[in-house]
Symmetry: C2
Subunit: 116 residues, 2 copies
């Protein structure tokens, strides 16, 4: 496939849109080991507010990547887990993680060189 075709394809745009939301990939990755409750996700991820986490989960749910499971009662207990489709995204996300571990220091070095 050509670069042009790739960029023009709406599915490719879709993939980029998924990535363009800061927390999408982070939350998906945090769910890799199985369903989690919101409070657990917040602890695990760190630095994400309740509101933003909820919005992110709704977005992922809307895109068919995450499913919500409510175990009724009080206090409420809700879990979010990856769908089959969501699990297929773990591999590409993992590829980025691997890249970050391999080359992250080079990026940081470039940043310091550029700003100093």
């Amino acid at each position: 496939m050509t670069t042009d075709a790739f960029l023009a394809d709406c599915r490719a745009r879709l993939a980029f849109d998924l990535l363009s939301h800061t927390w999408n990939a982070v939350v998906l990755w945090a769910l890799r080991d199985g369903p989690r409750r919101p409070v657990e996700l917040r602890e695990q991820i760190g630095g994400i507010s309740s509101k933003v986490l909820t919005e992110t989960l709704r977005r992922l749910q809307f895109n068919g990547l995450v499913e919500r499971q409510a175990h009724g009662g009080a206090p409420p207990r809700v879990e979010y887990g990856l769908t089959a489709l969501g699990r297929t995204l773990l591999e590409p996300i993992g590829a980025f993680g691997a890249w970050a571990f391999a080359h992250g220091d080079e990026v940081m070095a470039a940043q310091e060189a550029g700003s100093g």
Copy 2:
């Protein structure tokens, strides 16, 4: 590595930050076949303004992923190409592209099901 460690690592955050800017991955991908001039990139990508393209290129340059080469004269001729570091990112980006081609239709189906 554990999920916690992955998420806490600043290099991982870095990777996610790279992705969180809408056009970063698109522009990197558009440069995969070799250096391009800004006007060529705009045509190839489509839907990106001169200003946003310039900002994106500066950002990528700052992160050591892209390098600028000016061939002086009038009219000015400038080319942007991937650095060695930038080229290492093509593989993970390609993984996402492949995912989009394989599963993009499922995401779109989920969106329609959710909104309808």
